[in-house]
Amino acid sequence: MQILTLDNELFSLNNLPDEVDENTRFAVLDNSDPKEPDFFFMPLVFLESFNAPAMVLRIGNDEVTMPIDWSIAVGDSSSACDIEVLPLTSLNDRGFEALIFNPLSSFRVEFKKIEIVNFYSDVKWYFPKMKNGQLLATPLNSEPKPNCAYFVKEISRQSEIIQLDRIL
């Protein structure tokens, strides 16, 4: 799993160094109050670990590997609708597009096609502890100012819709 730091770079949690800079922060889209969704950079204090199968997703031209039981923020490029948080297991070729936005450098929201390209039966994951209603900004590549998609392990029903016009 990978996070977006304040330096606007990808930081991989799969190959952690012995020591992590205590000032490291990671980007989240906080929708715990659906009337006031916003981006925050949270301190990287606690990491959780678990084993789970994984799906490799191709989002636009990038590939990202995520646990199969997580959810992704999706929308529709052809309409300015709200963003919906959908389990990866519900994608099923239904034409959803991933919400793409870099909270530090993007000027506008993009939506990119999601394609499932592979499956791994057992992957060890590390991910940062997040509050309910927060979605992890996940960089899609290691380039500077990477595009980010948004994932969450569990989301409450109250915050599964993100009102796009309230973010921007």
Partner: protein, 195 residues
């Protein structure tokens, strides 16, 4: 030690069962025709009651050459329901056999294993997407002779699991409903032992 054939009913929620049945019976998905008897030459084994039936196949996942159908997420609940740890997923495919009211009673297709050279710890699972009457027939091999040992009737929500080296055969249904199964092949983690 696992029993030779594990039979489990309602392995996924009724909602998931309906989703899968609906996907296969109402969605415009590609079905590729295969002659089931020719498909399994040379591993296929002729038996007195074998019957030449026609089958359609829809590939969902193949490890080599790599292929992932975008319907893959629909099958994740089934993968999760398999009570054996998966080391490597090799294939998921669906097979549809349309009914033939004239097929001989108790006949079945050619006994086969799903791989010409089944790797160690290969496990085969068959999930039935709907109720039908085309039994899955399991065979034992003793001194080169294949003997029918078990019949499992299709039932929506039912999954059977067995060693991938076990010879088995599908049957053509006689009722109006086609027999649609999802077939999983994977290598189990060695710690699970052989079924």
């Amino acid at each position: 030690m696992l029993p030779p054939v594990i039979i489990a009913d309602d392995v996924i929620s009724v909602e998931n069962q309906i989703d899968l049945e609906t996907y296969f019976t109402t969605s415009p998905i590609p079905w590729n025709y295969v002659n089931a008897n020719k498909q399994y030459e040379p591993p296929g084994v002729g038996a007195p009651d074998s019957f030449n039936y026609k089958q359609f196949v829809h590939l969902i996942y193949l490890d080599d050459p790599h292929h992932v159908n975008q319907s893959f997420p629909l099958f994740v609940p089934l993968l999760s329901a398999i009570p054996i740890e998966i080391e490597k997923l090799l294939m998921i495919k669906a097979s549809m056999t349309v009914s033939d009211p004239n097929r001989p009673v108790n006949s079945y297709g050619k006994a086969h294993v799903d791989f010409t050279e089944p790797p160690d710890n290969l496990i085969t699972c068959v999930y039935y997407t709907g109720d039908s009457d085309g039994d899955t027939v399991i065979f034992s091999k003793v001194d080169g002779v294949y003997t029918e040992t078990q019949r499992v009737p299709p039932k929506r929500g039912r999954m059977i699991i067995f060693d991938g080296k076990t010879y088995h055969a599908g049957s053509c249904p006689t009722s109006s409903e086609p027999r649609i199964v999802v077939n999983f092949n994977f290598i189990a983690r060695a710690s699970n032992g052989q079924p």
